[in-house]
Symmetry: C2
Subunit: 429 residues, 2 copies
Amino acid sequence: MRDIGLGLLGFGTVGAGVVEGLQRNGELLSARLGARPVLRAVADLDIASDRGVAVDTGLLTRDAAAVVADPAVDVVIELIGGTGTARALIVDALRRGKPVVTANKALLAEHAEEIFGLAAETGTDLYYGASVGGGIPIIRALREGLVANRVDQVLAILNGTCNFILTEMESSGLSFDEALAEATARGYAEAEPSLDVDGHDTAHKAALLASLACGGLVGSRAVPVEGIRRLALADIRNALDLGYRIKLLAVIKTAGDRLDVRVHPTLVPLDHVLASVNGVYNGVVVEGDLAGRTLFYGRGAGRNPTASTVLGDVADVIRNLLSGSVRRIPGLGAGAGPEPVSPADSRSRYYFRLMLADRPGVLATIAAAFGNREISIASALQKGGHEEGYVPVVFVTHEAVGRNVAQALAEIRGLDVVGAEPVAIRIEG
Amino acid sequence: MRDIGLGLLGFGTVGAGVVEGLQRNGELLSARLGARPVLRAVADLDIASDRGVAVDTGLLTRDAAAVVADPAVDVVIELIGGTGTARALIVDALRRGKPVVTANKALLAEHAEEIFGLAAETGTDLYYGASVGGGIPIIRALREGLVANRVDQVLAILNGTCNFILTEMESSGLSFDEALAEATARGYAEAEPSLDVDGHDTAHKAALLASLACGGLVGSRAVPVEGIRRLALADIRNALDLGYRIKLLAVIKTAGDRLDVRVHPTLVPLDHVLASVNGVYNGVVVEGDLAGRTLFYGRGAGRNPTASTVLGDVADVIRNLLSGSVRRIPGLGAGAGPEPVSPADSRSRYYFRLMLADRPGVLATIAAAFGNREISIASALQKGGHEEGYVPVVFVTHEAVGRNVAQALAEIRGLDVVGAEPVAIRIEG
C-alpha cells in the first residue's frame, strides 16, 4: 500500500483534531482509500503547548515553509487561517504543484481570484470543504451531488456563535451583551467576537456557497453584511408572537440572471426547517430546480467535526493522486456567474418596529410613507409598553424593494411623531 | 468541448425526469463539467406513451441490449428496476467496460456480490446514488464527505410511502388501511404496495447504507424486516402520549466489532430530528465519531429529485472519463465488514402494549415474566378502555436483549390473563 505524505500547517484546535483523527481512524481510512495517509510534519509557531494529542516531537517544527518544500510532503493541509502567512504558504504549495486542503474561508473569500486562479494556472488541486459548515459536507453536496440542479435559493445558518447567542437570547431572555458573555464563558465565542457577531464569517461562507451554487467568483466584499450586535430582545419576542424566529442567515437567491447574496438577521417562519436549527448547530437549506428542498444539518464548527471534513478532502486528494486525476473537479467559479443584485434592488418581506407618538393620525402618516413607496403592509400590531410618550408598533410587509424601504425609512426617521431609530429586519423562508 | 454519449434504459417516471433534467440543465451541466452529456438513445418496452417530455423519436427504441452495445453510448443509465432484465443489461454493460449509473436498490442489495464483484473485476465504474434517498446526496456523503469517520449509528426514514401513511394515521386518526388508500389515491403508493409497506424497500436501502457505512457487503437478506401493515392507531396515540412518534426506521448500529442492521416501526422521541421528518420526506441521521450527528433531509423519491441524483452520478462518471480516473472510488463493501448481530442478540429499549385481565395480581405476573428475562420496566401505564374484560396496559422498558424479549413474549402469550396478541415496538434515538 502506497504512503501519501501529509504536511500540516497550523496546530491549533482543528489541527489537533486532524492529528487525532488520523491516529484514531488512519487504518480505517487506509482501507477505504487503498493508500496510507502518513503525517510527515506539523508546523506551528507554538510547538510546546499540550494539544491533548500525542505527536512524535520529531514531526513538530516552527518552519512551515520547510514543510511545504519537503519532498516527502505530498499534500499540504493549511489550518493556520487568516490572510497573511497562510496565503503565502498556500501560494507556495500551489506553485510547487502540491495539492492543498484548507479550511480558510477568509482567504478564499477575500482573495478568491488569486487563489483559485493560481490553482487553475498551476493545475493543482485545492479543496476547501471545511471552510463552510464544519462537519456538514455541504460544499461537496453543492459541487457534486446537486451539480445537475439550477440552484434557486440557499438559506443557511453558518455561524454557531451567532446561533448560540440568538438561541440564548430567546430561551433565557438575555440581552445581546449577556448572551455574548455566556457564549464567551462557554468557549463558543472568541475574545474578539467581531468576525462572528458582525456577520463577516457568515459573509465569507456565503460568498463561497454563492460561487459554488451559481458560478462565477463572488467575493465576500460584494456581500452586504449586517450582524446581530444591535438586535434587541424585544424584536426576538415580537417575532415569536408573529410566528417567526430570528436567525442570522446567509441568503443566496437567483432572480432571473441576477444573484442576490446577503447576510443579515432574518425572521424565519417557525415551521421552516431552519427555525429548528438551534444552539451551536448549523443548517443549510438548498432549493434546487430538480432536487427540490434539501436540508443539511450538523456541527458547524469545533475540533473533530471540522477535522472530519478536512480529512474527507484529504481523502479526495489521495484518490486523485492514486488515479492520476488532478483537477478532476474544477475550482470555484467555473463559468461566468450571474450579475449581483444591488441591495437597492433586492426584494424581501420586512418586519419593522417603530416607536410612534401615541396620538391620532400617526398611523395614517406612517402608512402613507410606506404606501408612497409601494410597500404594502400585511399586518400592523401595537405592542404594549409606553416609552416617553411613544408606543412600539410592529409592521409586517409584503415583498418590497430595498431602495423603497431605504427611502421610506429615511422619511420616517425625519418625522417628529417617530421616537428612536426604526428597526427593519427582513423575512425569508 | 467533448461529447459524452448517454444511453438511458427505462423511460418511466425517473427516466422521464432524467430526460427533462438534461434538456433543462444540460448547458449548465456542460459548463460545470467541461464536457457535453448527450442523450444517444432511450430504451423502453413502451415507446408510445406520452411522458410529458419531448424526445426525438429517433432516440426511442425497444431494444435495450442494442443501446448497451452502441459504440456511441459511453455511459449506461439503468432505470428499469427489478432483478430481471435490468440485471442482464447491467452485467452486459460492465462486461463491456461501460460505466453504469443505476437507481436499482433491489438489484444491488439482493445481488451485491455479483454486481459489485463484476464492476471490480472489469475495472468499471458503478454509481448508485439514487438507490437511496432520492434527491438527498446521502450515498455520496457517507462514501466521501464522512469517509474519515467511524460510523457509530445511522437512523433513517427511507420510504416516503410509509412515512406518508404514518403521518396521515397520526394527523387524521386513520387506520393503516384508510391511510394506505389515501396514499394510493394521491399516487404515493403503488397498486401493489407490499415492497413499500412491508419494509422491503427500506431493507434494500438499509443494506446499501450499512455496507457503505461499515464496510463489507451486507445483503438485504441479512436484514430483519418488519413493515407497518399491522401497526394500530392505538399505538401511534400511546406513543405520542409518552413523548414519541412512530416511524419506519432503518437502524444501523455498530456495537464493538458487530453490526446491527434492522428495519422496523420504531418509537422516536419527539425532540429527535427524525420525529420532524413527516409526509413523503426522507431523513438520514448519521452519527460519526468525528463529525458527530449530521442530518440529511429531502425528497426521498419522485421524478425530478431522483433524476437530480442520477445526473449527479452521471457527472461523476463524466469527470472520471475526462480525467482518466476509472474506479477512483472503490465499489461497495471495500474491506471486510463487521459480523452481523443476530436479532436474538440485538439490544433496544421497547414499548409493549398488552391486553390484560382487569383483576388483582395480573401486573405482578407480567412484571415477573419480564423481570425473569432481565427486562427492566421503566414505566407502566394503564390506558383507558375495556375490551371484553381486558384493559390495555403499556410498558416502556430499559435496554433489553432481543432473545429475552422473544422469550418473555412467548411466555406472556401463553398466560390466560392476556387477551389478544401482545404488541412490541422498539425505541431508538
